[in-house]
Symmetry: C2
Subunit: 333 residues, 2 copies
């Protein structure tokens, strides 16, 4: 099986199975990202939305709702909601990270300005809020409000934890939940709740989304030290240059000798980076098996995600979600 088959199949199968729903989601996104009064808004959002993200989060919501037998209209609102929240956080992230590239294209803060990215992000967040209110489900609102708080808290935590060699795996996990897993698990849980699924299934969906999100982010952090710019839509070494203490580095720092520790202190804590430092960092990660250890950690989370699916009824979508969990780690060789 080629990498392409391994990586694209589950996502494409989900996309095909949910094609009608996804079309409704895309229509709703286009409708709600518009603004009568402020033309800058659709300019910025179209740039992001049409960049063709994988729409992974809305698909998770649709899949969860359908798998639990939902026949109403509101899974579409929730799917658009999670994509809006995701897009809003991307806009704010790019300001915070001073990124120049996102999904292989220049970022909005580069094309327009930081102001537009901050305010259009706020707008998308407000629009997502309107969409979820339309579902009329207070429980769904509660789930998404809590996810929003976890996301923001994780982002702030990353600001202080990133450049601190004392950051351990426990703190890393909190950051990862904020960056990725909180929205994944809200996406799947909300799908189950809107479908009126039994509590055990709702809990399983939440666990699946959480574990999938953590695996996804760990792999993303791994690829930052080993993927190609084309494959990950950002530049290799971005995390190193931004001095983010991700899992591969945490593992390498734990095994560092005095000289290596001085290297990490200089490059990550003090931010004094020179030519060849990224290559040296990658050599240290390889020397201590940090890449393999990180990949093993991601595989553990994939196993957790798949195990959670056992509590859900047999369904084609359930199989696709299991395959999707495998796909997440298949991105890394």
């Amino acid at each position: 099986m080629s990498l392409d088959e391994a990586t694209h199949k589950p996502h494409d199968r989900l996309n095909a199975y949910l094609a009608d729903d996804m079309e409704r989601v895309n229509g709703l996104i286009r409708e709600r990202m518009a603004s009568e009064h402020a033309p800058r808004i659709p300019e910025v959002t179209a740039h992001l939305v049409e960049a063709g993200g994988k729409r992974l989060r809305p698909m998770l919501t649709l899949a969860a709702a359908r798998m639990c037998g939902y026949g109403g209209p509101y899974h579409v609102h929730l799917a658009a909601t999670v994509e809006f929240i995701h897009t809003a956080t991307l806009l704010h992230d790019d300001v915070v990270d001073e990124s120049a590239q996102r999904r292989g294209r220049p970022t909005a803060n580069l094309l327009w300005d930081n102001k537009s990215s901050v305010l259009v992000g706020d707008y998308l967040f407000a629009r997502s809020f309107q969409l979820m209110v339309e579902t009329g489900s207070l429980r769904v609102l509660d789930i998404l409000a809590n996810a929003s708080a976890t996301i923001a808290e994780g982002e702030v935590l990353q600001l202080t934890a990133a450049r601190d060699l004392a950051t351990d795996e426990h703190i890393y996990l909190q950051v990862v939940r904020g960056k990725t897993a909180a929205l994944f698990s809200a996406a799947t849980e909300a799908g189950g709740v809107i479908a009126g699924a039994p509590e055990a299934q709702v809990a399983a969906l939440r666990t699946y989304g959480d574990a999938l999100g953590i695996a996804f982010q760990i792999v993303d952090d791994l690829l930052d030290y080993g993927g190609s710019s084309a494959a990950i839509g950002k530049n290799v070494g971005d995390d190193f240059r931004e001095r983010k203490l991700t899992l591969p580095v945490i593992r390498a720092v734990a095994k560092a000798d005095a000289g290596e520790r001085a290297f990490w202190t200089r490059t990550i804590e003090k931010g004094d980076q020179r030519d060849g430092d990224l290559e040296e960092a990658m050599r240290l990660l390889a020397r201590h098996g940090a890449m393999e250890a990180t990949r093993a950690e991601a595989l553990d989370w994939v196993a957790k995600a798949k195990a959670a699916l056992d509590a859900l009824p047999a369904h084609d979508l359930r199989d696709m979600l299991a395959d999707l969990a495998d796909y997440v780690v298949a991105r890394v060789r």
Copy 2:
């Protein structure tokens, strides 16, 4: 009557009348602005929250709910909600405006960094969202979701409208609703809704908040060309330096001769500002009666606000809200 008596009395009376409720609001704000994991959050929020803003918006919510006979606990949640939304927008505004001073103190983006302001703003918005979900009122959520969208849309609109001499009073009003009036009217309307007030009273509260907010912002824009730094907690001429086309300038531009128009084009549209330009702008505003015309406009909105109160039952709080509307314009001589 001294200026002090005219300006502080209604606010102080409201504060005294609502003292128990306000204490609960302040307690809830302190509790919810904390974060277990990210110590940067309470640092930033404490800086803002303890700077001693007037807490005008939460008082509006409390007053509206009490005036309509509410005896439950959730007006306190809603009051904290609107203060959190307000604080979140201040944090993002300061990033967008690159401000150095807020409420007479250095801004958070200056003390920490823009990243912290963006992300802590997001956190406060998420926390406000959790607070309103706790009220269990979908209608209140709808009101606040719509207000959030209007606020964000108005802010983006201001980005493009600000430096464009074609901006007229109609666009200005949309910006003002976004900047100020949308949250004022959501604050009063939500108070009425949580109290279960009749529709006519809810509508009157919304109209009062909207008109009060517009008057408040017009006066703020007026003071920017004539108040003292101590009185307004920011620097005179900030709007001019930031090239914001506010009502006084819109009025002066409408009456400008060719030479004056060239002045506005150079300073506002092109941003080419020199020593003495602010003073020249203020001379032009005075020459065309733009300050008086703007003040008259604010008085019209005050009259609208007070007229709306007629639909509400006789109540000490109703009288204080009427006085509060007068106070807004009494700030300008």
